[in-house]
Symmetry: C2
Subunit: 498 residues, 2 copies
């Protein structure tokens, strides 16, 4: 317990209940103070914060700070010194200017649903909780675009869009804030057809570390394409809060499909399921979702949801389109499934029926946790070229077995991205050690296969070493040059990514 | 003629035949030397270049330098001091290190088909002609990816891909090099369905200004998506040679459509044609191309190709898909065309018939020039949100008329991107002045409509002032910070973009 959570020696050791979290947070704060020799925020600085946003919108209460010191990952809680709730972009600018002037670290906070410790305030400072800036502005049905503030979540946006014939398809699972999804470079189940966050963000309004306001595509602009200077939008998407605050995002919307159908297909093995995926893509079937579950996960999900599915490598396949094109896609899919020795259920087309099938997938996390009641979960996130996916998946399964670990697999297999949901006893240091070693091996296996250590969760705290291996020294040096150019005092979410 | 072409006072004044070009180049070189006080390259430096690539691969001949001192734009020729032809990436690194050490400007050169003066050596220095590095490597049919060197053009790649069932769809018209297209952030007719260069580049091998080698997504990597650090690939796509040399690009390929069909539709006015476009997109018809021609351009193209089309606002519509989905798309399109008061020809499905229709569009440049024989052409490149397109197009047509200018319009209207092909007498300073004033007004009109001054041609030399208006001071400062971080001595293609 004397370990500083600001410098996590071992990130998986201490998934904790709230009481334990608090103790760790305290130790962390003490450890951070002692190791970094940073003084707590002086009272006049806290007063200055209050002068900007009003007293009720600043908190230094322990419980509030702890609540903002972690996301949904295993990284130990690292609370900020204060939490502020700005209500408008001008306030974010003023607060940033204040912090910049006093060289106080700043950490953006959305919904806290990240998976790599992106919000943990490992160097203390001020957490900017942007959830109260939640306006949905400038919906343009003709331009298929909408502008949202950081408090707007993807579900809130899609609810707002009901009846317009448009939707925002990027779906990482959690009901994350859209600006947080942009900051993470999130994607999810629909990315194979609709892309990740990057191609779906048209413009970002960013508060820079010194409080200046940047519009990445220029103020008020939203052309569908541009070739005007370096692509600042793509630079800030996936920057994980290390370059500035995303205080508004202009997003590309998509027409709602006329019809949707889902099926579940079972295969004799992982190789067959992945081969089926490649053939679906090669046949140019405009598949909307191809989600993979290995036989352990399929079994867990089936039991958790009471669906009675075969214990087999499984694909969930969803198609979108007009009625006529849907029928054609379904026929093509069925043929490809059969060619790969698979068999599929009848297609579910009604909303309720489809949601029932997807709820099985959406509950994968809990189904995995149910395999070892009382244990904790951690999700890996590698992504490899599709041709290498069968080998990487098979080797990873062998590794899990050899390491005596529970880690059922799910994956956005159309993109080559898969997760092992590792379920382990966080109170057992030896098992935690095995988990750590396994995740490092998995990351390196993905790199060796020409892939990445993170397809959609980001680097955050836990993948900084792997990032260096992935990019090489020149790549990392280039990232550092950019970071130093845009945040010369390393005040924005310090300790993350780099 | 005494004007320095290194600092073009007026970029449209001097579209010249080759003899005139040479005179201008000479004046430019003299002007540059006198105004910038830069000495010519010392002989020992030229010897050092020869030592790297061999004597036949270095030239300081006037004709060669002039040939490399311009692209297809109106910007006056600005020849480099020497041209080198590296044969391998190691040579590019050595040459860059040499130039870096001696603080000599470097200009990357592909096919010279750019439209904004991107290759003009306005500060002299060494032109790196990368056309002899033309290997196509690592074609992966399973991963839908290929790696190409900078000498490979899009047509050469698609020829190489024949019989594989895959293709690379980005088509800016010219048979440009793929690395040059990446450097420009090119797009073209297929972008509405397949995207611009940015989402179609998976990795870039870049020689940095000091000769170090960077792989933007890490060495040898090509996952379909990643969330590992800032997106360096997107940063270098569209950087117009100002951050480094693109010496290899890994590209995303697409499955060839089973069937293709094209039609031409005529409308009562521009508004109806654009409204049709918006409805096609809203109906989620996965249209592959929607190209717009105003009535002047339709008439010019019709006469040039002898097709006898109506003199009317016109759309060329292309659909890709399976036979069944094609029939459905065609029916949807026809309904939408009729709803907007348009009428369309029978669909062309055979290759020859389709190519005949497209040749009309591809010859638009020459058809426009034929409107005023002996005159020169210049293409504008604004892109606006689709909802604003009718107004912007109508105002632009009125402006053309009020300015007594010939400027038929073509456009990738599904993206809101359109070009006026301005045809003018470059020997008439007064007309050139009107052209200049018109292009500035058009740029500002696009900006006022929430658009960009360049959808796909890039900033180059001519749009630097408009870029500042588009991005605002903070945006420009951010671009400058990035440029200074990655090229602190401003050696890479100086004078472009910023």
């Amino acid at each position: 317990m004397s370990r500083s959570c600001a410098v996590p020696v071992f990130p998986f050791l201490s998934r904790c209940n709230m009481a334990l979290r608090r103790v760790l947070a305290l130790a962390a704060a003490l450890g951070r103070r002692s190791c970094c020799s940073k003084p707590p925020l002086p009272p006049d600085f806290v007063e200055a914060l209050r002068a900007v946003v009003g007293t009720p919108n600043v908190s230094t209460a322990t419980a509030v700070r702890e609540q903002h010191g972690h996301d949904e990952s295993m990284h130990p809680c690292a609370p900020p010194d204060a939490v502020v709730w700005p209500q408008a972009v001008g306030q974010v600018q003023e607060l940033a200017a204040l912090c910049h002037h006093r060289r106080v670290p700043m950490v953006p906070f959305g919904t806290g649903t990240g998976l790599e410790g992106g919000v943990n305030a490992v160097q203390g400072g001020v957490c900017f909780d942007l959830s109260r800036m939640d306006a949905i502005a400038e919906l343009s049905l003709e331009d298929f675009s909408v502008t949202v503030e950081p408090g707007v979540t993807r579900k809130a946006l899609n609810k707002h869009l009901r009846g317009t014939g448009l939707w925002f398809p990027v779906d990482p699972g959690a009901d994350a804030s859209l600006c947080g999804m942009a900051a993470t470079g999130a994607s999810g189940t629909n990315a194979v057809r609709y892309g990740t966050m990057r191609p779906n963000v048209l413009n970002l309004r960013v508060v820079l570390p010194d409080g200046r306001l940047l519009h990445t595509a220029g103020p008020g602009r939203q052309p569908r394409k541009r070739a005007a200077g370096y692509d600042l939008t793509s630079l800030f998407v996936g920057s994980e809060g290390t370059l500035g605050f995303l205080t508004q995002a202009t997003l590309r919307l998509h027409p709602l499909p006329e019809a949707t159908a889902v099926t579940i297909a079972s295969f004799p093995g992982v190789g067959a399921a992945v081969a089926c995926t490649v053939q679906v893509l090669q046949a140019a079937v405009p598949v909307a979702r191809i989600e993979f579950l290995d036989e352990v996960m399929a079994d867990a999900c089936s039991r958790f949801s009471g669906m009675g599915l075969p214990v087999a490598a499984t694909l969930l396949l969803e198609v979108h389109g007009s009625r006529c094109s849907l029928a054609e896609q379904q026929q093509q899919m069925e043929e490809i499934v059969q060619q790969n020795g698979g068999s599929s259920l009848a297609w579910a087309e009604g909303l309720e029926e489809r949601e029932q099938l997807w709820s099985m997938r959406h509950n994968a996390w809990y189904a995995a946790l149910a395999l070892r009641p009382g244990c904790q979960g951690y999700s890996t996130d590698v992504c490899v070229p599709i041709s290498r996916l069968p080998d990487v998946v098979v080797e990873t399964k062998q590794d899990l077995q050899a390491s005596s670990l529970t880690g059922p697999m799910v994956g956005h297999v159309g993109d080559g991205n898969f997760h092992c949901i590792l379920v382990f006893n966080s109170q057992d240091p030896e098992e935690a050690q095995r988990i750590h070693a396994f995740t490092q091996r998995l990351g390196r296996r993905a790199l060796a296969a020409g892939g990445t250590c993170t397809g959609e969760h980001g680097v955050g705290l836990g993948k900084r070493a792997l990032l260096q291996e992935e990019l090489g020294q020149e790549g990392l040096d280039t990232l550092r040059s950019i970071k130093a150019a845009l945040d010369p005092h390393n005040l924005m979410n310090p300790g993350k990514v780099l």
